[in-house]
């Protein structure tokens, strides 16, 4: 079958069917729309025809753009077909933006179309960007539940999907403070679905940062600061609970580290109007680490967890170096040496360097 009739068949499918999913399949179909396979509104594009179709479509697209008569209808179909094959083709997306601005395509339609393309290209940044472009111009079309559903599906399709999480971060711009807090809590309770996904943890931190920056504007309001304090206490408890429930995930430890650093930078807001100050946070963390992870009587701790705990402890020491005594350093050094003897793992040498450096300062 030549490329032009392939294009016509595909065009025919797009016009007549409401597709819900698209993917590449290795074999050709022999149904009504051969060689394409159409089942329950899912479109299968056979591999062997991809190169020649794409080549033809790109040529056609260039010609259509040169053509002064501006055949919008044909441009619409041609870009759609290209984007089903390749979600990263930015010129085609831009041409569609143009058509939206001219009023030829309804923005709602392209929201639906990007949703379809995401089933094949869940990690395409241009695709997510096109969606944002539409939502930015037509804010009334933002429906959080719908967006979250699409994001969740893309993440399940392709784990550690930075682009999907990034879209979710972008949506935060349109949330009120109450909505932000709700979103923070609900993300927290469904975090178990993606424990090893750093992009997910980063999303959680981004919401928290937004919340803190909003409270910062009203820094003399005691009630509000109390709310923030409660939220923060709940959150740190949640992170520690996750550490224990899902042992062996380095991602959570890294998150805890970044979180501690963020809180340290914003101690004036989070620990304002309080009898206890940031030092009490530091002491609590050290006690937690010592009791749970660096306790010789606790035989159920994985060796790798001990390593993460040591790294976290050294990180806290470098943050709070003014509150550390010489004995503390020496104790940490012995702990690291013990760990290295136990595990035959030499990767913690860099920590010893860091500790020596702090010690010199003290």
């Amino acid at each position: 079958m030549d490329a032009e009739s392939l294009y016509n068949t595909l065009k025919n499918i797009i016009i007549n069917k409401t597709l819900i999913e698209v993917s590449f399949v290795p074999t050709q179909g022999d149904g009504e729309y051969q060689p394409f396979i159409l089942m329950e509104n899912c479109l299968g594009i056979p591999f062997p025809i991809v190169p020649k179709s794409l080549e033809y479509l790109k040529k056609k697209f260039v010609e259509l753009r040169k053509d002064k008569s501006l055949n919008y209808k044909e441009i619409d179909y041609c870009t759609k077909c290209i984007l089903l094959f390749n979600g990263e083709y930015i010129t085609a997306w831009n041409e569609r933006k143009n058509l939206i601005q001219l009023g030829y395509i309804k923005p709602e339609f392209d929201l639906q179309f990007t949703k379809l393309c995401l089933t094949k290209h869940p990690k395409s940044s241009n695709l997510w960007y096109h969606r944002q472009w539409i939502l930015k111009r037509y804010e009334e079309l933002i429906n959080f539940d719908k967006e979250f559903e699409i994001i969740e599906k893309s993440i399940n399709r392709y784990a550690t999907n930075y682009f999907a999480w990034n879209h979710r971060i972008w949506l935060l711009n349109y949330m009120t403070i109450q909505k932000l807090i709700d979103e923070f809590k609900s993300t927290q309770s469904s975090m178990y679905k993606h424990v090893s996904d750093h992009a997910g943890w980063n999303y959680l931190l981004t919401i928290f940062k937004r919340i803190v920056s909003i409270y910062k504007e009203d820094i003399n309001n005691k009630n509000k600061l109390n709310e923030l304090k409660i939220l923060w206490n709940e959150h740190i408890e949640f992170v520690k609970k996750s550490l224990k429930e899902f042992p062996g995930h380095e991602t959570i430890w890294y998150y805890l580290r970044i979180l501690a650093g963020f809180v340290y930078q914003n101690k004036d807001i989070i620990y304002k109007n309080e009898k206890e100050d940031i030092i009490s946070f530091f002491e609590k963390e050290i006690t937690f680490i010592n009791n749970e992870y660096l306790n010789e009587n606790n035989v159920n701790i994985l060796l790798v967890e001990e390593k993460f705990a040591l790294q976290y402890k050294a990180w806290l020491y470098s943050l709070f170096e003014n509150n550390i005594t010489k004995e503390d350093y020496n104790k940490l050094l012995t702990e690291i040496e013990n760990y290295q003897c136990m595990s035959d793992d030499q990767s913690l040498y860099y920590l010893i360097d860091i500790i020596h450096r702090i010690q010199v300062k003290v």
């Binding site: 399949v25 290795p26 089942m39 094949k120 399940n156 784990a159 178990y192 224990k244 995930h249 159920n300």
Partner: protein, 209 residues
Amino acid sequence: MKVYNISILTNSAPSKLICAEQDLSSFGFFQRGSVQEFINFFSTTAAERTQVGERSKIEQQSYVGYVYSNPNGLAGVVVTDAEYPSRVAFSIINKVLDDFTLKYKKSDWENLDPKKRLDFPELKTYLADFQDPHKADPFMKVQQELDETKVILHKTMDSLLQRGEKLDDLVTKSDMLSSQSKMFYKTSKKTNSCCYLMHIDLFNSVFNR
């Protein structure tokens, strides 16, 4: 964090599938059929080769299979992604096998026609509920159970096979796999992947990404 499959089989050789439930919503529409066939093929292969009383864990890239074979002649198989806590996966198997034994007597499944499955709707509820590991194990016990030290870990499916056995031959001989799925397996062999689960990964790379 995802549980793809819970199934109950006989641990005789050849093993028979008694009931199975799968959640393949994260796979594309056109993949699901083959993925399901491969999971069932894996379940029977693993159930036959796991010693009675033994727990084994078979890792392959981002997928993990858990098998426990009990003295009554039953085996439970759970397939999850790499994030799912292994202790919880084994406790799902225990729970499912216990409930199954309460519902059916040995005579009900011993001479079951290989083409037939027993009706066990609880499996569907379990599969939906246990997507959240907290529900499978409400306390999410901090301590790793001592049992887990007895788990035999296989880094690939090949190490599960007996001497002289080859996965290729098993795949070719299997009547659980459609010719389409076998063709996929052969193409994946060319790209130097040795295991069916890796094969599913290939599916992902081919279809989805």
